[in-house]
Point group: C2
Chain length 713, copies 2
């Protein structure tokens, strides 16, 4: 057997191991059954290799499906030894080889150069990577003439396009670049042209620094492994990264890729997984969909790879359980076996983690706190105090999201885009993505003077970042993170400290939020929360409007209908029902006037591009200001069985005792409980710094970052 | 063993049969495990027998839970023979006996008299029925003194209250009345006082006509078995009905209850089950929640009873699969065994059915059409052309709902009520139930002159009803139903004919709707559809409003924000995305002006009691008018995997060729297809009636109710 006619990712022995899973109830067994059923259903359709089409249109989808099933048919041929799969993959590849050079290049419509199949070569890279993997599984089964036809009329023209015609794009350090190098390298192995593998690893110059996989993985991630565009883009880059790493481990073992640069592949995979909510959804940081999850194909590959190459971690079993499949590969087999052997599968509960940003890890961070309640429910709190996220960035530094009882409660709107929905502007980003989705007011943060952070200037935003203050992620009863953002609004300093506190008196961990603003001039501050569900009660009177106007004219306010407002003299309580759970927010500011405004999106939306979502905000005016609030998760509602328990919650007051450059002191009271929360506002604080504040003849003192004193009444 | 100390619903042999299911993976085995876990969790809480409380409040819920677990503990004691369950039931019963006579009566707040535990005796009836069943399972285990204490201080006072103090209520023919008689009869058996059983069956007078179970079941349902308040209330009445029927089969076998009055119990159970959507949810006809389903306890009991007593029906197995449990009783065991033996479980696919209304079946009907697509997806179309539904009635005669691909597409808002949510007006019906939920405009129907049907006069509405025209429910490719409602708007005749058509050219059955109005005076007609999801495209220009006003001042219009409007000269297309599926509505009228208005609920809602839901309506003005429309189900969207297929649909035009007192002719065109739909408008039509209409020199002729001619282009 010719050594170039081997599957790129499978040895003979590994194929035999996978064959043993046929008919098993393991995740691998289920994966095979599922993928085989999908392939069979697709094979029942007529073979079609169409010409050009719109993104999201029929032709686009067909080319995508075709490469997916070439790849799948190749592997399933090896595992099942059923020749119909090989024939099918061969038929598709041969048809593409017949037609490829007859297709013209698309007309260029965006920054990405056009391909012959797709409107942008990114998709053509993906096509080549998958088609090459599939080809490698059947190449030994093909006749010499079939092989020549496919290689000469399909693969080589593609390789030349990517490395010669578009050479300027091949070495670009960018998440799309990983697809380019993975595709070219894998195709090179599949057709026995090792020079393409070398180019892919070391770049066109061969120096390993100006381009190629090594340069990509060295430069794209911060030391923490975080990818600055956020998990939605990270999970897209992780797919070729994991696949190509595994290819290199097999075909360039001396590279020792899994230990390269202090295990950067481990680091960045773990950083991605650690962002996910307990139910597997990724927080929609920056431009992102609300529904992207660890069930994404790339993350399935990454979890399997990580398990095999970096060892046992029970959280990976929990993730595999959510994914309900594994990578159809020996890496996936290892994970499947461990999953099968585990008696107590539990949802993933990754440790809290602060992921630093920037090439040197000194441009802020993204913070992820997680805490488990007595009933094992996991709450997660996310705060952005890092970088802007480039072209896809949202203007939400110090913005938070909060997740409890299986749902996002303080929510991200996510992008304004109906991805791949052709009648909605070809599935591309909509105008409302800029005018609403990226704006500060569309986040759980404070908007100053109805403006966007950095005046919606992305270039300016890319030059600044949040400043970590402290991060306490190890407690089982109290966790906290704090950060400053002093460069995002002119002349206004901001500090946000968020905590999760577990106390026997409450059902779930309590979210405590101290958002402090300082300025020499007076400003209007809008502290806003995006929520979903039905308002159940408030502790203040409000007036709903009998005609609706927008809340403002610009910076996202033009999309908000002003539904209702009320004066909340001291503590404002807003309680709502989302799904099966009640949530009660209690908030106040040190300001004289606390106004609460209820809004809904949908204004100035001439094509119904926006979803209709709701928010409420506390508005106050002043110079130095402390918004202090808590969010209590409580009760249970099930309409289907008409059950409702504890719709009111336990807390009823929150009060700002005082705040200055030393610290902030807040008191929270409720049924049988009084909490005094003291937080350091000193940037130079250490865990031993002594704090002492005298307010109204009472002295509050504590050591270190913060203290919470609980008195039971 | 004393014969009065037997379980009311179980023999010794039956207990042994149930014991064999312990540890089995059958539905019965799973039911036992699930109920046992629930009971154990409840037993871990402190025993509490509180005093009075609000509906939906802690005390109310506690009394409800207590009776549920007394009942469960009794049965599980017999099945598991674990004495801790008997002890627990005894402890609860004894505590109630200690306290019951010390509780005062509640203050009466509604038409239902108050009890000592609950604010209305309906709940006290439920309490007694369940507690008696539980008691009967442990009575032989109890000591004589315990039995006496429970009987004398708890059960007998309750029986006296129901049959003496509140004797006027006991004989009332009402769905609540079934609870009263079931409770009293079952308690009578449990304590060996057969006179109470006699009263319950034959009424206080003993005549079997003025009161008692036989009178209830004879008078509450129409000949078709339909219950006029709709499935939401029907499923509540079916619980004591099924339980008490099974009791009577065992304790009054001569009654032959299951064959009583031409098997009225079979008839009414089947009528209830036949209303359900394929996913098990009940259409929210009249005041009802959107989430009530066959998983409701009463329906679980009814499905098991029906299977055991009326024989095998594969649809019951499909329903049991949705329920994922059976009645913990020999009836449930029979169903569980059949479910286990069935190799091809499929979702229930009940035949289409027209359920007549009124004591003689001549007061209109409710129509339910079901059709299966090639992929086995079941579409369901529901039309109300029956009675008003009394105090819970909605003013929606000729209103429809439509279900496809697992979701309600043309939707019911359901009731305006947050049931059992105490801060929302004690969980009771809200003002918005009258001002919005019951109004005609809040349905998929035509509203004339911005008024409600019958001017929102429930008494008047109770005197009129829809008139069935024809019902063709047996076709696999074409089904239709048609009805008149001439008494609902002054001087205006209405006829609606709805069809489902399956054609190879479309993915799913097509909904075709011909809504005809006749009047000697000009009126404004609003043909409205309640939808959920995102507008994807229209074929006409529309203008969204930059400030929002209500669409009107009364009859529900005061709750609608006027979001946008557009002129649709000929055919209007409105396409939206709901969940994973696209829907395209194409509509026209024979009117000169077709205006389309988009609305959202939420106006004049000072306490955020309404959900924010969307609708669109075609508005036109004229005398005689035909609204002709189709609803196409098409395509697929999955944001999580970023897939979108066929977002546009295949149909692009619908045209009214003509309509008069003989018939209506409509043409529908699309990619490669032209359909001509001809419908009889003659009330006296039979299946052989000849129709001939000449329009613009073309003659359209057909025999019978309707014809659909398909030409492939």
């Amino acid at each position: 057997m010719n050594t170039t006619r081997q599957p790129v990712l499978l040895t003979r022995d590994e194929v035999i191991d996978l064959q043993k899973e046929l008919g098993s109830s393991s995740l691998m067994g289920q994966t095979i059954v599922k993928l085989q059923a999908e392939l069979e259903a697709y094979m029942a359709l007529p073979v079609d290799v169409p010409g050009h089409g719109e993104a999201g249109g029929y032709e686009h989808n067909k080319h995508k499906d075709n490469y997916h099933y070439i790849n799948l048919a190749g592997r399933l041929f090896l595992i099942t030894e059923d020749e119909k799969y090989a024939k099918y993959a061969a038929q598709l590849l041969t048809t593409y080889a017949d037609l490829y050079l007859q297709f013209d290049y698309h007309i260029q419509r965006n920054t990405n150069p056009p391909g012959r199949l797709f409107h942008q070569i990114l998709n053509e890279h993906m096509w080549l990577m998958y088609a090459s993997l599939g080809y490698s599984c059947i190449s030994n089964w093909l006749s010499e003439s079939e092989r020549c036809h496919i290689v000469d009329n399909l693969f080589k023209p593609m390789l030349e396009m990517f490395t010669e015609k578009y050479d300027f794009d091949f070495d670009r350090i960018h998440n799309h670049g990983i697809w380019a190098v993975a595709a070219v390298g894998i195709c090179g192995i599949a057709i026995g042209e090792r020079k393409y593998l070398e180019m892919s690893v070391f770049g066109l110059n061969g120096d390993g620094e100006t381009g190629g996989f090594l340069a990509q993985i060295s430069q794209l991630f911060s030391p923490s492994g975080y990818y600055m565009e956020g998990p939605y883009y990270h999970r897209f880059a992780i797919r070729p990264l994991a696949v190509f790493a595994e290819v290199l481990e097999r075909h360039m073992p001396d590279l020792n890729i899994y230990n390269y640069k202090d295990q950067v592949i481990k680091q960045t995979t773990q950083a991605l997984l650690a962002t996910a909510y307990p139910n597997g959804l990724f927080p929609a940081l920056n431009d992102a969909s609300q529904t992207m999850a660890i069930t994404d194909m790339g993350v399935v590959v990454a979890v399997s790879m990580y398990f095999k190459r970096y060892g046992f971690d029970k959280n990976l079993l929990g993730m595999a359980e959510i994914q309900q499949q594994v990578w159809l590969h020996p890496c996936g087999l290892a994970l499947s076996k461990a999953h099968e052997a585990e008696e107590n599968l539990e949802p993933p509960f990754w440790p809290s983690v602060e992921l630093n940003e920037g090439p040197n890890g000194d441009r802020g961070a993204q913070g992820f706190l997680r805490m488990q309640g007595d009933d094992k429910d996991i709450s997660q709190l996310v705060m952005n105090y890092g970088q802007h996220g480039m072209g896809h960035g949202h203007f939400d530094t110090l913005g938070i999201t909060f997740f409890s009882r299986g749902q996002e409660v303080l929510r991200e709107y996510a992008f304004a885009r109906w991805v791949n929905v052709e009648p909605k502007f070809g599935g591309r980003y909509l105008d409302e993505n800029k005018s609403y989705a990226r704006q500060t007011i569309n986040h759980n943060a404070v908007t100053v003077d109805e403006m966007c952070q950095n005046s919606f200037d992305a270039k300016r935003a890319d030059t600044v970042h949040g400043k970590p203050h402290f991060f306490l992620g190890e407690g089982t009863e109290l966790q906290a993170m704090s950060a400053f953002a002093d460069d995002h609004y002119p002349g206004t300093g901001m500090q946000r400290t968020v905590m999760m506190l577990k106390t026997d008196l409450l059902e779930n961990p309590l979210l405590i939020d101290l958002y402090r603003l300082t300025s020499e001039k007076a400003h209007q501050y809008d502290y806003s929360h995006q929520y979903k569900g039905q308002i159940i009660r408030t502790n203040f009177e409000y007036q709903t409007n009998t005609e609706l106007h927008t809340l403002g004219d610009d910076y996202g306010y033009q999309h908000l209908w002003n539904l209702a407002r009320g004066e909340a003299k001291d503590t404002a309580l807003v309680s709502w029902l989302q799904g099966n759970s009640y949530y009660s927010w209690l908030g106040t500011s040190a300001g004289a006037d606390n106004e609460v405004i209820f809004t809904q999106t949908g204004a100035n939306d001439p094509q119904f591009n926006l979803r209709h979502e709701t928010s409420f905000m506390m508005r106050t005016t002043g110079k130095d200001m402390l918004f202090a609030s808590v969010l209590e998760t409580h009760g249970y509602f099930n309409e289907a069985v008409e059950a409702s328990v504890d719709a009111r919650g336990k807390l009823h007051n929150i009060e700002v005792i005082g705040h200055n450059e030393i610290g902030s002191v807040v008191r929270i009271t409720g049924d049988n409980v009084c909490l005094t929360v003291m937080v350091s506002n000193q940037p130079s604080v250490t865990e031993t710094t002594e704090h002492q504040i005298e307010i109204n003849n009472t002295t509050y003192s504590w050591n270190g970052f913060l203290a919470v004193k609980q008195e039971t009444k």
